[in-house]
Amino acid sequence: MKKNFIIVLLGIGLIIYASTIIASRNTIYYYTTSETENIEITTNERIKLGGFVVEDSVSQEDGFTVFTITDGNKDIEIVFDGFIPELFQENMGVILDGVLDNDIFFADDMLVKHDNEYVSSDGETYDVKSYSK
């Protein structure tokens, strides 16, 4: 009984250990646009960048979709080459996946929030309207 118990605990410990190691090797960092000012990112490091799509900023250039996102404090220009999710709209919260290079973010994957409210990490809800210019 006790022996089995120890084996089970060891097994679970092993799984937790292995999972944690593998998970930490597969992390993708997530930033808001303001946070990009204070961080050091090596070139070509993939990150996730979140913010709201600024109104009237979306355009098509050479087959890329170009737009600007903001978190209310800082704007970043996005060059997007990928599948635009059907929910993509101005003023909506999006999370982009890509590489930041000289204040231009090259993204190829996008996640659109279902809701039109944005919840920040401190749990505060921002109304999209108050951010649109």
Partner: protein
């Protein structure tokens, strides 16, 4: 009117449950459970009436429904957002309570109904004290309602126009069915929890009766979870237009964890019933099943994780954490009272016999659940430690969960004919030599047609062998009515999973996509077929404007459409055009429209229909359980 009635009846329901819980003499238990069910049905209908009468003095109706919303989606709006979905949750809970009382109640004690009542007090309490779907609107927003009250008899304001449900939820009928299926699955996990804790608490019968009840009551929620997850994946594929069906998103993960645990329990309960072993393990599984549904609701509703399913919400998170703690403590308390009983658990004799295989099955199912759990909460822990937000990449799940599920697929092959004694692998080979050869030949034949990888080879041969052994077993033994009903349930479920695995591996290894730019009335070639693109058509419906782009191949015409919903959150959604066949789907979405030129994403998705067929077969596994001659 609806507002006052709703709130007052919520309170009546709450007081009635409190009375039921403290009711010492156990008088009127059945009547009270019935009345409780009646009130919950009444509250459900009441909110539906509110939705259909467009009673915008109710904050919930004003914010999640609109006059122009079509009837089906009006009906489904009830569970479109948190407050309403708790109402549906309560309805399911009271239905299950009644069902449990009628079929599985412990005749010697009332404690099961009391534990059930306590869980129900917890959820009804939320609608009474925190936020109610019957809350009245006291302050108007531009559209909908911005402030509300849960106290009765307040002065209300009524908006003229509702905000309407989230556009995503009214784009496809699947969305109306998928959430209730998941809810029934989630809520149903309460039953095995109640069965295990109450029967071990009263300890009036020292038999294994708790495991029988727990096993029977797990199958129902397991079935609904299977259906719910399948419908969710199908909806994601049909509506979201990204061409996929599963993204290892936190919200998807937390619906998969209870499913894995319940699957593990359905197997290990069998072993306890026949060989009186794994007693303590089964008790732990039942507890984890229930707690994982609370955890799932917590992750889904608290918004602590970045997810596509961003349901932002108030204080439900803390409330659910408190619930997990409370019920966790009850569970541990009752467990520790029964240490002596658990120590009577017999040891596993034959590691390569029936019990051994079921233990392996449990190890791998539980490990998968644990790995997914860690992947899901890892961002939370990371953020707490380093105050940075992260997500765990898809590779994590591919590396860890993939192999575990592949091993499980391999184990299933042996499930057709397991005996208590150790498996003689030589004998097994001799008995199945024809099937093994056929499976290998079919696999090799398939590989000639496809792009190869060793994962594909292993998965395909395992799947084929599983399908062939199961089917030949059906052919040989089903008419002879050998085996118990639950044995055949398992066999059907395994057959479905085998077909599903074949579909998924085809999908993962063979699918490809391309981008095509063209103008109206032009054609393009893809995968040996010619597709012709027409011009966009605009349609105006009461609730939305639809922009349709017809595309046709030699046989049929399909539309990819863009739906722009009126007076709702400014979202537009589009549905893909899918040309289906059993082997592959041609799945077309519009990347962008510029005047009359289009950029299309054209995907060739393999195996999707095979996957759905597999999961459908798994869902049909309940049929043998309907047979009367339970062995």
């Amino acid at each position: 009117m609806i507002y006052n009635t709703g709130i007052i009846f919520s309170w009546i329901s709450f007081s009635l449950l409190i009375f039921l819980f403290f009711n010492k003499k156990n008088l009127y238990t059945e009547i009270l459970v019935r009345v409780n069910l009646f009130i919950q049905v009444f509250l459900f209908c009441l909110l539906e009436v509110g939705l259909f009468l467009n009673d915008f003095s109710l904050s919930y109706v004003a914010n999640y429904s609109a006059e122009s919303t079509p009837p089906l989606y009006k009906f489904a709006s009830l569970w479109g957002s948190l407050d309403g979905s708790i109402l549906l949750w309560n309805l399911c809970l009271s239905l299950f309570m009644y069902f449990y009382l009628k079929l599985y109640k412990d005749p010697s004690s009332n404690i099961d109904i009391k534990i059930f009542t306590l869980i129900m007090i917890f959820f009804v309490g939320y609608t009474v004290f925190s936020s109610s779907p019957f809350a009245g609107c006291i302050e108007l927003a531009t559209i909908g309602c911005s402030a509300s009250t849960i106290l009765p008899f307040a002065e209300l304001v009524t908006s003229n126009i509702g905000r309407g449900p989230n556009p995503l939820l009214q784009n496809h009928p699947l969305m109306a069915i998928h959430p209730p299926m998941l809810y029934i699955g989630y809520v149903g996990m309460t039953m095995p929890f109640v069965a295990a804790t109450s029967r071990l608490y009263s300890r009036k019968d020292k038999s294994n009766s708790w495991i029988e009840v727990a096993e029977k009551t797990t199958y129902i929620p397991w079935l609904f979870l299977t259906i719910g997850i399948t419908l969710g994946a199908a909806w994601s594929y049909e509506v979201l237009g990204w061409g996929g069906y599963w993204a290892w998103d936190p919200v998807e993960n937390v619906s998969f964890i209870p499913w894995l645990l319940a699957t593990a329990f359905l197997h290990s309960a069998k072993i306890q019933k026949t060989q009186n072993t794994l007693l303590n393990w089964n008790y732990i599984l039942v507890g984890l099943m229930f707690l994982s549904t609370l955890f799932g609701t917590f992750i889904t509703r608290s918004g602590v994780l970045i997810s596509v399913h961003a349901f932002s919400n108030g204080n439900i998170g803390t409330y659910l954490l408190f619930g997990m703690l409370l019920f966790g403590l009850i569970f541990i308390g009752i467990g520790s009272k029964n240490i002596e009983y658990f120590s009577k658990s017999k040891k596993i004799d034959n590691w390569f016999g029936k019990s051994g295989f079921f233990v392996f099955n449990n190890i791998f199912l539980f490990s998968s659940a644990l790995v997914i759990f860690i992947g899901t909460i890892f961002p939370l822990i990371y953020e707490t430690l380093y105050s940075r937000q992260i997500t765990v990449g898809r590779a994590y799940y591919d590396i860890l969960v993939g192999p575990l599920l592949l091993i499980l697929l391999g184990l299933m092959i042996f499930s057709v004919k397991l005996s208590i004694r150790n498996l003689n692998i030589q004998k097994w080979f001799n008995e199945n030599v024809i099937l093994i050869n056929i499976a290998l030949i079919v696999t090799i034949f398939t590989l000639f047609l496809l792009n190869n990888s060793y994962i594909l080879i292993i998965t395909a041969s395992f799947s084929f062998l599983l399908i062939f052994t199961t089917v030949s077993n059906f052919y040989k033994s089903f008419r002879l009515t050998k085996g118990s009903n639950s044995y055949w349930t398992g066999q059907i479920a395994h057959l479905g999973i085998g077909i599903f695995a074949l579909g998924i591996i085809l999908n993962v290894s063979q699918s490809f996509s391309t981008e095509i730019e063209l103008n109206s009335f032009q054609e393009f070639n893809f995968n040996n077929d010619t597709y012709f693109v027409y011009n966009t058509i605009e349609e105006s419906l009461p609730e939305k404007n639809v922009l349709k782009l017809p595309i046709s191949n030699s046989n049929q015409t399909k539309y990819t459409s863009l739906n722009i919903f009126k007076n709702s959150a400014q979202q537009a959604i589009s549905s893909p055009a899918v040309f289906r066949s059993i082997i592959n789907d041609i799945y077309i979405t519009v990347k962008f429209i510029n005047e009359d030129s289009y950029k299309l994403i054209v995907r060739n998705n393999y195996g999707v229909l095979i996957m759905w067929i597999g999961l459908l077969i798994t869902s049909l596994s309940f049929f043998p359980r309907l047979r009367k001659n339970e062995v």
